[in-house]
Symmetry: C2
């Protein structure tokens, strides 16, 4: 090694040692008689000292060096006269006797500091410089640790990691595939996997019993704020299991990661049906760090002449503890907030449960104190609380009220970043009706088993069938999801039929899986976790991009390498393709 | 779990326990009063016993079951009357009290046995059934163990696994890229990485210090026998290192894997220059489990009137110990062998060093006993040995003699599968001249640093420049290769110039890397291992395909899922593409 030590490991006990360090010049200070350089590498920062009196040449050389120069310095570990208790190496400095510039650096386009002057776009273009910043590096280190701990835990649980192919087959069901033209087979294409779903099922049919893979998946979708065209899953599957076995196994994984990575113990998992999640939280991924459950007020609030309520499919509210003193201005602002198009409520009804036991509401014209008292009781409110009520079509009202609940939870400090509430949401609907195409789509994917109790409804009332599917939700973030799978050929065929596949379409796209079901498929089920998302949750960030070394932007472009890009026409010819662009100047 | 135990864990100590097992019917035997079923899962085989007298119904049910049915059996662990010492569970059987058929199976297209009746093509089409065979499953388990051990070793050495992007940019230098058309950017394409080379260099520039990744790579090449369009690398890079540091680190990895996976200790690594490897073994990946080095005989053998030798650029031979008694027929067969087009020699000269000290050769007309004695001495031969000599153009002769050496090593039992000889081959040429395109190509890749001693030759005699590049070779198999990289912008520009890039081409393809070199690139180097190949070596196979769960065939086709395949014309339209096929009926 060009160094004897790294920049994070020398301590007062090393005083007197001859050492050689390599790293980047973080900053330098010229104090006349002395020059100091902070030398940085992945492991830390160590101070280099140069003395004008003792070695003027070296000291002058040191003064000429710019930020981010790559240096190799040899010298003696010396106790500092003014120690820096904030730095692990703050007790010592290196009195430098030899200095080599390994490489120079132009002034970087932004400062390599935690509080950098670089905007998002600039830092993405020069991502390799951004990675030098401690927080970005720590994110990548966290991700590495999560992966190592995940693999070792699953290995101990007898899971085998199997690499499934990346060049697979396009199956238009679901999101849009990325395609890869074949050169050897003119007019034919591979597709990149949206998930290894069918392969992991084939591995179960192959008797592997317990499979996992930390694996890149691909979706060619118009990108929402926090989606990436390529993302990483922890993909898992088990044979001969019920969903309780899946829960137990992956609660184990989550608890292990909480302990190993976050140092958090005593994690407990709750279970909640999709139906309850929607009814009480207005979302299939409730943040259960705090209660504030919905109360439905239809019985109490309808038929009293308030048209907004009377016309509503649902009247429901939440109780914001201790908020009775909200001012008119605050309430107006909250009303404006729920009316924003992202939330979509038409208005907001409030009831202040005053500390003296009286009520003041925005609907005093229609409801008297006794009636409001009844509402308060139904919502478990006490004097000092504020009731916030929305009304309208059930689904939209729940969704809006769920957003309002999260907002109030945030304002009341109930969504603490060091508190973790873990949940399995279960019994999702098997199918979703799509108005536009006039057909059902699988809510999860076409291989999800219906709940046994609902199996008889599959052909006549498919919309009512619940799936044996589940999501893992932590603090309102969907970390993963899975299901018990169909392993019976006839049921799978029926499922494709309900989804509107002709037998030929089913065979063309999934024939290999249908064939496999002929030869002794075991009962099986599994789960896939969004690894980027889980890293972001543990890292305390909302953005998965912070946990990806080289992310793409919202236009699916890598601005650092400038990709996608045009290619040589000869390459297209090899692939039996022509561009089909209206305006070639585009 | 649907089971209480798996099929590999019950022992005589478990006698009397009530257990439930799940698995596949491997075979059944009907002995009249008793029926036995071998129940198989990933963990082993356990015998189920059914007694006609005690439970005729169950016994009859058991007799109806076919191979590969999926069963769930409840019963009591019972000591066997006739034990099977070959099976870990051979002391016991399960006296079955309840039997459930979880799934039926058609008769599989080949027998799920080690000695299967299924040919390669059939087993590939039904790969999920092939995976049920013990040897295939064990290959995948070995691969999993190799990956886990690799990651844990590198993690302890402070390497961070970083996922680099799969959707990158096409760089026509090197092999052919797989392209991925962009929907959002008409006429533009991503490419799949042939390796994460530039990204790992950027991570070093980003200060990550030690990076690794077990990662899928892609090459759209016409497939030779043992290549796959997608393959897996253990990709590694380190900063502030010399090549000796790289050697030490990855010898450590190899030793760890040898010990953890193969139980082999005392592995030592030798080093050999490319020049010596070619001179003494005729290949850049010599199998050094045995000596049999080449001796060059030009001085001794030329100018004696034997035109074949006199006209040759090189006369060289090997000494096959104890083979002096080869018959005329054997020697003729060997001559035919070297004349095959794969080997390409024109003929073979032999000299028998008879046990009595005399010589008998195919060139007795031209050389007397004294002269042959000189050859024997030069080749370190002793009575009883056989000298095999080829002559011709240097490179071709070395190549052919290298093949002959391997063949003789095999015939003499010198290439033992339980012996491991590990080697670094160093100092490869930096560049290769390509006659067809009339330009130099990088032998490794354009980022490889020249040896410092040869730097002055780069512009005037580029062919003579040696690279600071190395391959790891085990038992004649190239397991991996790498180099110390260029980290200086000017040298990299010079390198692109030597390779015939215009500055614009260099900028267009590698501008981001050239830019990165401006901002403090550290000295760095690394290595990439062919993970599939390493697994095959450790598993004792020549074929990487045996170690890939779902391999593609020689036409890059996945015959199981039937991919690549045609896609919906709407998908092509979304991608701004048209097919460019002469004969649309193809």
């Amino acid at each position: 090694m060009l160094r004897t030590h790294n920049c994070g490991e020398l301590r007062i006990e090393d005083t007197g040692k001859e050492v050689t360090l390599c790293g980047w010049l973080q900053r330098s200070r010229d104090l006349g008689g002395m020059t100091f350089i902070d030398l940085r590498d992945r492991y830390g920062i160590t101070q280099l000292a140069f003395n004008m009196e003792k070695n003027a040449g070296l000291c002058k050389q040191a003064r000429e060096l710019g930020r981010e120069f790559v240096l190799r310095a040899k010298g003696t570990v010396t106790e500092r006269s003014s120690k820096n208790p904030k730095m692990p190496t703050g007790d010592i400095e290196i009195f430098v006797t030899e200095l080599e510039v390994l490489n120079e650096s132009q002034t970087p386009p932004f400062t390599i500091e935690e509080e950098t002057d670089g905007g998002d776009d600039l830092r993405m273009k020069f991502r390799y410089l951004d990675i030098r910043r401690e927080s970005v590096r720590k994110n990548l280190e966290l991700r590495h640790q999560m992966a190592i701990e995940t693999r070792n835990y699953l290995n101990l649980q007898k899971f085998i990691e199997v690499e499934t192919p990346v060049l697979i087959k396009s199956t238009p069901e679901g999101a849009r595939d990325f395609l890869v033209p074949s050169r050897m087979h003119a007019g034919q294409f591979y597709a990149l996997p949206q998930s290894p779903q069918t392969f992991k099922q084939l591995l179960m049919i192959g008797g592997l019993d317990r499979y996992f893979q930390i694996v890149k998946c691909f979706r060619d979708e118009d990108l929402r704020a926090d989606r990436q065209p390529e993302f990483t899953q922890i993909d898992c599957e088990m044979s001969f299991v019920t969903r309780e076995d899946v829960f137990e196994t992956f609660e184990g994984l989550a608890k292990h990661l909480f302990k190993a990575v976050k140092g958090v113990e005593n994690i407990r998992f709750e279970q909640m049906s999709y139906q309850d999640a929607m009814k009480y939280y207005g979302t299939d991924k409730p943040d259960t760090r705090f209660e504030m459950r919905f109360a439905e007020l239809n019985t109490l609030a309808q038929g009293k002449g308030f048209k907004v309520f009377d016309d509503a499919e649902l009247v429901a509210g939440i109780c914001a503890e201790g908020c009775a003193e909200y001012s008119r201005k605050q309430l107006d602002a909250l009303t404006d907030w729920v009316r924003r198009p992202q939330i979509g409520a038409k208005g907001l009804v409030y009831v202040k449960y005053n500390p003296d036991g009286s009520f003041k509401s925005s609907v005093d014209k229609f409801f008297n104190q006794e009636q409001l008292q009844e509402w308060a009781e139904a919502m478990g409110a006490k004097p000092g609380d504020l009731l916030l009520i929305l009304a309208g079509e059930t689904h939209a009202t729940r969704k809006a009220l769920g957003e309002l609940r999260l907002e109030m939870g945030k304002r009341l400090g109930l969504r603490k970043s060091d508190t973790f509430s873990c949940l399995w949401v279960t019994d999702f609907p098997l199918l979703e009706w799509d108005e536009e195409t006039g057909r059902f789509y699988a809510m999860h994917h076409p291989f999800t088993a219906p709940l046994k109790d609902d199996l008889h409804l599959l052909e006549k009332e498919p919309a009512k069938v619940r799936a044996n599917a589940y999501d893992m939700v932590i603090n309102g973030v969907e970390i993963g999801g899975g299901s018990i799978r169909i392993f019976d050929r006839e049921l799978q065929e029926k499922m494709f039929h309900v989804l509107g596949f002709t037998p030929e379409e089913a065979r063309n796209q999934f024939g290999f899986l249908m064939d496999a079901f002929r030869y002794g498929a075991p009962p099986h089920g599994g789960v896939a976790f969004g690894f980027d998302r889980w890293c972001a949750l543990f890292g305390g960030s909302d953005s998965i991009r912070d946990y990806i070394a080289f992310p793409k932007n919202n236009a699916a472009r890598d601005v650092m390498i400038d990709s996608p890009s045009r290619v040589d026409p000869a390459q297209l010819q090899d692939l039996h393709l022509k561009l089909n662009i209206q305006d070639k100047e585009e």
